[in-house]
Amino acid sequence: MNTLNYSERVHGWGRFWGVSAICMFILYPLSVSIYYGAWPGFSDLFKGLLGVAPIFWTVGAIEAFTFAPMLGSGGSYLGFVTGNLTNLKVPCALNAMEVARVKPGTEEGEVISTIAIAVSSIVTTLIIFFGVILLSQLQPLLESELLAPAFANILPALFGALAVVFISRNWKIALAPLLFMLVLFISMPALASSVSVLVPVGALIALGVARLLYKKGLL
């Protein structure tokens, strides 16, 4: 089997599973409506979607174009079905590629990323499943005031460790977008809730700086 064959086959599998997943996801509200004879009014559905779709369809599109080059084909097909990309699947895949000493965008990176995302998805599904089963026992602990700061700070705890590994290696590229984001978020704290929309802004700045440095032979 050669490289091209595997890559082609991943796209075939990915499309099959992707289309099936879209149908399966729609099946839930569809079966609710059929079983209970409860169809949403068009106006209510439209207004409901108007409240979330413009922002989240944009975020989804941004994530697709931003994460796909990092995750590879198999990882993207799987990650976009199983969700929780920023806080879980993307860092998990990048960490796995780092540990295995393979690069994103190579075929080695592709298979390692796919394995990491698959394992992460399976573990997440199992933990949530057991969480649901044991909810009454777990709820007081998870919602306790004692643990609240730990869960509230999961993203700083994750990105602090990730940053030291990856920024130290790419600091010339990272410096400009990092400074831009620091100034932006400190001057406009309300933007914190729209961080996903700002990812492509950071990426464009990083790409511009990288291109400039590369052309000047500084990378």
């Binding site: 839930y28 609710v32 009014g41 944009t58 394992v119 992460s120 949530i128 700070n153 700083p156």
Partner: protein, 239 residues
């Protein structure tokens, strides 16, 4: 009366969760097979599996918190499904609450009207499909573009991917500083981030200088959990 925790809803959610689980198993099997064909040792792959599994535990437990938050309003099956596939609390909660507001329903009590429940389920489902649709229909073309870029200039292709990641990481690091003007409490996320960085550096010292090789696989989860644990006393001290 409509029960948002009915066995029918559990069964419907369970079937979809099983479907997604089988997709993960399918891709895991295929990628493992391909990795072995390419000569990647089973030892490396096992390290990737254990490292990824350990890393996932803390964020996955945090996801259960999201399930709990939503379950108070829409019962358990829907949040169980949504948080196991595709969704994240940052999306599901606004989708549920804004739809409830449009329908004039309070989210402080459980849904009792199947029509309200169905509307919320439809909005949650349709409002977040764009990423999946784009990936399913256009990923081949996106990856084709990246491959052409790399073929034309391999080094720039690598820098291109790194730059996108730096853009992403910059946005999230910037966000951590969003509340620093609020006083000492606003600095808590910054301190947590710094602790995570320090733990990671200490792990790096042990891996590279002291040759504690096994630690490499667990450095990220260890840094994350250490910083999360220390977030508790830091928050108390800052209060």
């Amino acid at each position: 009366m409509f029960d948002p925790n009915s066995s029918f809803l559990y069964a419907a959610a369970g079937i979809i969760v099983l479907f997604v689980l089988s997709q993960s198993l399918f891709f895991l099997y295929k990628a493992w097979q391909r990795a072995r064909e390419m000569g990647i040792s089973a030892g490396v792959l096992k390290r990737v599996v254990t490292g990824s599994a350990v890393f996932t535990i803390a964020p996955a437990i945090a996801i259960i918190l999201g399930v709990i938050t939503l379950a108070k309003f829409v019962g358990l099956p829907l949040p169980w499904l949504r948080m196991s596939v595709l969704g994240a609390l940052t999306y599901e909660l606004p989708a549920a609450t804004s739809t409830a507001a449009i329908l004039g329903v309070s989210i402080s009590q459980g849904v009792t009207d199947p029509k309200v429940y169905a509307t919320i389920a439809w909005v949650m489902t349709l409002g977040i499909l764009s990423g999946l649709i784009i990936i399913t229909l256009f990923l081949k073309r996106i990856q084709g573009g990246i491959a052409t870029l790399k073929k034309r200039d391999t080094k720039w292709g690598e820098i291109f991917i790194n730059a996108i990641f730096m853009g992403m990481i910059s946005a999230f690091l910037g966000m951590i500083f969003a509340d620093v003007t609020r006083g000492i409490q606003g600095w808590v996320p910054v301190f947590v981030m710094l602790i995570s960085t320090i733990v990671m550096l200490v792990c790096g010292f042990f891996v590279k200088v002291m040759k504690v090789k096994w630690l490499e696989d667990y450095a990220l989860p260890l840094s994350m959990l250490g910083a999360m644990a220390l977030a508790i006393p830091i928050t108390r001290l800052s209060g």
